[in-house]
């Protein structure tokens, strides 16, 4: 039997989950923008807004401690961080472009060696996706094979209904369990129709064709024409739900401190700098090329997936107006 949930009950669901000790991450108004943030109450839920940053932080924090150390006369002690201590989490109202990203990133974090910092958070998170009914100029999820109503990566999926409320569809067992366990918040579906999904305007991309062009065009004037003006600010990578490069740094002193894993970006000038001063990607166009290659070729070569969900965040934020969709359109037309 299909289910629905009212907006009021959605907020009450948040309150119940919080009361039981879960972490609830959802769009929340933060000044002039909405962000995916841990909520303190269901009232904070910002249902209409597309969050400025992606939901990636839910699984892969901007910065996290991976061990701590202390040194004294007795020697050095290294203390582990136990991923078992991570809280149960519900990521609520994740847009399809955000919900799909972790299921793509699972491949790199579980490849050969398991990164439990990421994977344990994934296991402990239930994703409730939310269909988009409006899109802006930068949205292009349909061009990379997703859609505003795509349930990929979601455990439970909400679709806004005419006259208010949401249709709730279980996508995975986790989602089904949530529906059953929280039955008091859901009703049987009536006759209300779903609102029509958003229609991102972008031309569809032939990802196979783009990949095969990239296979053969490591050297191409395009990289200088388009990417020379990239400022290497890293905004695109930091806003991206699918970028996963990181650094490992020690903070504190020799006597006491923490080793931390923190986001990094291949657009930064020193990302590949050798200690000798030699830098394999010594020009910005080479760094931008790596960004496109990683997303649309290397990740495919390795894991058979594309590292972009068409969320458009990098387009909205780029200070020099580099539009990844335009770059892809250009490659697609070659």
């Amino acid at each position: 039997m299909p289910k629905t949930i009212t907006e009021q009950n959605l907020r009450l669901l948040v309150d119940t989950l919080l009361k039981e000790g879960a972490r609830v991450v959802a769009p929340k108004q933060a000044g002039t923008m909405a962000l995916y943030e841990p909520l303190k109450s269901g009232d904070e839920l910002a249902l209409g807004a597309l969050p400025r940053r992606s939901a990636k932080e839910t699984f892969f924090p901007l910065c996290e401690t991976i061990l701590t150390f202390e040194k004294d006369k007795g020697g050095v002690r290294v203390n582990d961080v136990d991923p078992a201590s991570f809280p149960e989490t519900v990521l609520l109202c994740a847009r399809p472009c955000d919900a799909a990203a972790p299921s793509i990133l699972d491949a790199v974090f579980s490849w050969d060696y398991n990164d439990e910092f990421y994977l344990e958070r994934r296991r402990k998170t239930t994703i409730i996706g939310l269909a988009c009914t409006t899109a802006d100029d930068a949205c292009f999820c349909t061009a990379v094979g997703l859609s505003p109503a795509d349930t990929r990566g979601s455990d439970l999926f909400l679709t806004p209904l005419e006259g208010g409320g949401y249709a709730a569809q279980a996508v995975t067992d986790k989602g089904k369990e949530l529906l059953e366990k929280r039955a008091q918040f859901f009703s049987d579906a009536g006759s209300a129709k779903p609102l029509p999904p958003a229609e991102p305007a972008g031309e569809s991309l032939d990802l196979e064709k783009i990949k095969s062009w990239l296979d053969n065009n490591f050297e191409n004037p395009l990289w200088t024409e388009i990417a020379d003006r990239c400022a290497g600010c890293g905004a695109c990578a930091f806003l991206c739900p699918a970028c996963h490069c990181f650094d490992i740094v020690d903070e504190g002193t020799e006597a006491k401190g923490a080793r931390r894993k923190s986001w990094d970006a291949c657009g930064f000038a020193k990302f590949t700098n050798h200690a000798s001063g030699h830098n394999p990607r010594d020009m910005q166009n080479k760094r931008y090329r790596n960004r496109i290659m990683h997303k649309f070729k290397y990740y495919g070569d390795k894991f058979g997936q594309t590292l972009c969900t068409g969320c458009g965040r990098c387009i909205r934020a780029c200070p020099v107006g580099i539009d990844i969709k335009a770059v892809l359109d250009e490659i697609n037309s070659k």
């Binding site: 991976i66 061990l67 150390f69 290294v78 790199v108 439990e116 996963h244 490069c245 002193t253 290659m293």
Partner: protein
């Protein structure tokens, strides 16, 4: 802390011995503190590890000792930055961190029955020294062993005591050289750049593997010499040293095209290197 799920957690190791090779290059002999790790740790020549100075961070070095020598590992590094300077501050008896071994290795079994030519420049001897000792400890499995090793000056040569040892044992042909002007009055080796000296030494390419490590310019000028001597690109091995952080194929830093040096390398044949985009 050993049977742990945290892939970024290093083993603790005690510095057992320190040798200053040059004013800024140092060799550390490390012994794992945990008895089980000490017994179970194994690696293959060519693999690397992430070494940490707590408070400063981690640095990538090859494991410079031979897998045939059990009970300890050695690394040899040049102090050039934050971590390496901090590692240099440590003394005998101090603790540091080691995680690894990572990466692929030299296929030593495939080299058996062949002659070997090692060509190294400056601080790049460590990644070959592990292979050299590995093969010398199994000496009867290989034919001729030639080592051409050069540095800018006499003072820049690393492993000086081992160079002497190789020179004195009768089953290694050691050719050591320093750049013109780098020799003192008592220098008993050659004077000239590594590629030139290699060409003069004319090692036979017949049934021979060449292993080359050095700064990019040395490698650039050495490959054509090896070619003239008759070496094919799949008989020449080298290591790539793109900057690394995780060492585990996750942080996205070390790639050359779609090759991840930390997972697919650091050991490659010249044939593989030539097929890669120029991103190293």
């Amino acid at each position: 802390m050993c049977d742990n799920k945290n892939i970024y957690l290093p083993h603790l190791a005690t510095i057992e011995e320190i040798v200053d090779e040059t004013p800024d290059v140092r060799t550390l002999r490390l012994v794992f503190q945990d008895e089980q790790v000490r017994e179970n740790f194994s690696f293959r020549a060519g693999q690397f590890a992430e070494y940490s100075a707590f408070g400063a961070g981690e640095s990538t070095f090859c494991i410079a000792s031979s897998p045939t020598r059990k009970g300890y590992i050695e690394c040899c590094f040049r102090a050039t930055g934050r971590v390496t300077e901090s590692l240099r501050q440590l003394e005998v008896g101090d603790t540091m961190g080691v995680r690894g071994p990572y990466g692929n290795s030299f296929p030593i079994e495939e080299f058996e029955g062949k002659s070997l030519v090692f060509v190294a420049g400056g601080i790049a001897l460590p990644p070959l020294r592990t292979v050299i000792w590995n093969c010398l400890d199994l000496r009867d499995r290989f034919k001729d062993i030639t080592i051409v090793y050069g540095a800018r000056t006499e003072a820049d040569l690393v492993y000086k005591r081992e160079l002497e040892e190789w020179q004195e044992r009768g089953d290694v042909n050691l050719v050591k050289t320093v750049d013109p002007g780098g020799n003192g009055p008592d220098w008993d080796g050659k004077v000239g750049f590594v590629p030139t000296i290699l060409e003069e030494a004319t090692p036979s390419a017949q049934n021979t593997i060449a292993l080359v490590c050095g700064p990019p310019v040395m490698i650039k000028f050495t490959l054509p010499v090896l070619e003239r001597l008759g070496f094919t690109d799949d008989a020449i091995y080298t290591t790539l040293e793109n900057r690394m952080k995780c060492g585990l194929g996750k942080c996205g830093r070390c790639n050359v095209g779609n090759t991840y040096v930390c997972k697919d390398g650091p050991v490659f044949t010249a044939k593989q290197v030539k097929a890669m985009p120029q991103e190293f």
